[in-house]
Amino acid sequence: MKKPSITNGVNRGRRRLVAAGSVAVASAALGLRAPAVIGQTKRFSGVTLNVSCWSAKYPRLLEAYVGEFGELTGAKVNYDTPGLQVYNQRADLELSTKGAGYDVLNITFIFSNRWIGNGWFTPLDPYLNDRNKTQADFDFADFLPGAVSPMKDRKGVVYGVPWVTDSGMSVATRYDILQASGLGMPDTFEELEKTLAVIHKKDGVAGFLTDNHWGFWYPPFLQGYGGDVFRGAPDDLMPTLDTPEAIHSADLLARIVRNYSLPGAGGMSYGQTQELLRAGKANYAFVTHVGGMSHAEPEAKVAKTLHFSLYPRGPKGRFPGIASHGWGIPAGSKNKDAAWEFIKWATSKTLITRMVREKHLGSVTRRSIYDAPEYRKLINVNGQDTGQIVLDTIKLGEQGHMKYRTPPVYPQVNVQLNQAIGRIISGQMSAKESMTQAQTSLIADFRRAGMKI
């Protein structure tokens, strides 16, 4: 993949960009401050903001820019990006005490309903609707609706500004092997199994590899075969994990992993699988867009043979997983105005456009940036427009199939799904036994959490 060259300060002004992104870029080129803070320079002198997010690509890239926010507003920012597990742990505990330890936190996908539903974040509508607090150029409507909806509670109040909508999709790291066998990207789960039977171990490459986050990768199978996690989320949260559809689809997924993956693949974490995929040890994978794009970096062995497709579908349709993460303000924060200023700055068109150009940020949530040719060129992989796959996936989200994520006890659901599929893959239990156990355990978990189902 050819990357657009990084523009330096000298020729920045000469670049011509179309679409909405251009305004922002132009202002950056002229050295203007983000318009939101014009006339309010150093408004937050003496304020210390504690900001934390898990160590995904965007928050880590953002670290290089945080100093600029300090110069703009006078606020001092303590910025921290621990690993996902430690981040979730800390954030959850801090939020549950309604403490003032953090001013800006990431709303992690699997926790979003627990954190938002329990009132642990600050509603952002009063900020968004106040012209003094949010100038028009922030343009909240520019954010993809599919990215914003997980940041809302059931009444539609907004609690977070998304920085990524990670779409579940498929990638073949060695598409050349598929082509050599006369195959394309499989469109259905059944085609997938047949394709893997052909390509497995070809050229010394395992057919399939995906990380152990089955709570995210399994529901598309379940829904594709006509089942669901709950009887009728969000209102009827009776789990339906022991249905024939659930058992059949769990068995299919587990069979794929067992037959066509590397030893021990059923339990590998995201980091581990990413390393192996990059090194070309396994071919077909379910990935998020961000994860898949990291294999297109020049250091990755598979950059030249990468090919993407939509997540496969089942007989009843295509229901790819969509995970949004966004910035929010904890209810206990004592610096909410400054925190809002930070969120606006961190998700502004200006900054995101700069991050795309200067750091090759590959995941965005603003329509205007998706439409900017420069961005689309960036996420074009081997002649394939991955941006379109993302937009199509997010569009599919309008079917509402992600509603299974709505119970506030979703972390338990996630763990139960991870473990249920893990047990089948490792051969500890049959699909039927494992899914039946997941069903009973989940009901017990819900009861214990005081939920009525």
Binding site: N50, S55, Q85, G99, E275
Partner: protein, 274 residues
């Protein structure tokens, strides 16, 4: 006739085996240290010789690790100092006194020492919420005292038991008060014990992971938690983890070599585990 070297080293077979075993046992320790000096590109290269680099250490210095390291030093040192100040006189009192219930106190201290950390963490987490002690070094010191104090008492009492009472009685006859006797006569005699206790107490707090994981966020986060923070979602930063691990384990290894004679007793109290 045996060769000369064999008479000089009659146990050479056992010695050789000892050396081999020592190498095997210490291998993981040495391996993780060498990892910290490898460049990112050849971090898991099997070549034994490589060009060492400090890039992993430099990266640590630029990140938030330095603060965590300082937090670890301050909270472990403060907890040790407090536990010694309060615990040493208590150990002396338990050693010398003949009051009823002294034994029951001993059992209580043992239970405290043995209790699973989660049992204290649940109630103290809730209480800390009201006292606003979350993510503070004060809060950490308080929770470290739950085991440090019991440990100091448990560890110091046998040292006082070993000091002959006759010395104190003689001082008492000369009109010296109990605590003055303690300070001028008994305490100096237990110098090595005090040093060993303090070091083991420090190691116990220094090695803690669980309490810091639950009770700190950013300001008071300790070095062991910071290391786990390097287990990133995208790719593992093995080099940085190894460098941070090396920095964290060096003080305890050095200290423990200094006080190795007293380790047996101290470990029976479980200072270093968990």
């Amino acid at each position: 006739m045996k060769p000369a070297w064999e008479t000089r080293f009659p146990n050479w077979r056992g010695d050789l085996f000892t050396l081999a075993l020592l190498v095997i046992v210490l291998f993981p320790f040495v391996w993780i240290i060498q990892l910290s000096f490898r460049a990112k590109a050849d971090i898991f290269d099997s070549a034994i010789l490589f060009a060492p680099t400090l890039e992993n250490y430099r990266a640590l210095w630029q990140g938030n690790f330095a603060l965590s390291f300082v937090n670890s030093i301050i909270s472990a040192t403060s907890a040790t100092a407090l536990a010694m100040i309060v615990g040493v006189p208590a150990a002396f009192a338990l050693s010398r006194a003949s009051f009823r219930g002294a034994h029951r106190i001993g059992l209580w201290i043992l239970v405290t020492r043995m209790a699973p950390p989660v049992a204290f963490t649940i109630p103290l987490f809730i209480v800390f919420r009201y006292l606003e002690l979350h993510d503070t070094r004060t809060g950490l010191v308080i929770i470290y005292l739950t085991f440090s104090l019991a440990f100091v008492i448990w560890m110091m009492k046998p040292f006082f038991d070993a000091v002959p009472r006759e010395l104190e009685e003689a001082a008492a006859i000369d009109g010296c008060g109990t605590w003055k006797t303690f300070l001028t006569i008994t305490l100096p005699l237990t110098g090595p014990g005090l040093a060993a206790t303090a070091v083991l107490c420090f190691i116990g707090a220094w090695n803690d992971f669980f309490f810091a994981l639950i009770l700190t966020r950013t300001h008071a986060s300790t070095a062991p938690v910071a290391i786990v923070g390097f287990m990133q979602y995208v790719g593992w930063e093995w080099g940085r983890m190894a460098a941070a691990g090396t920095l964290v384990m060096m003080p305890v290894v050095l200290f423990s070599i200094v006080v190795r004679k007293y380790l047996v007793h101290g470990l029976a109290a479980g200072s270093i585990k968990g």
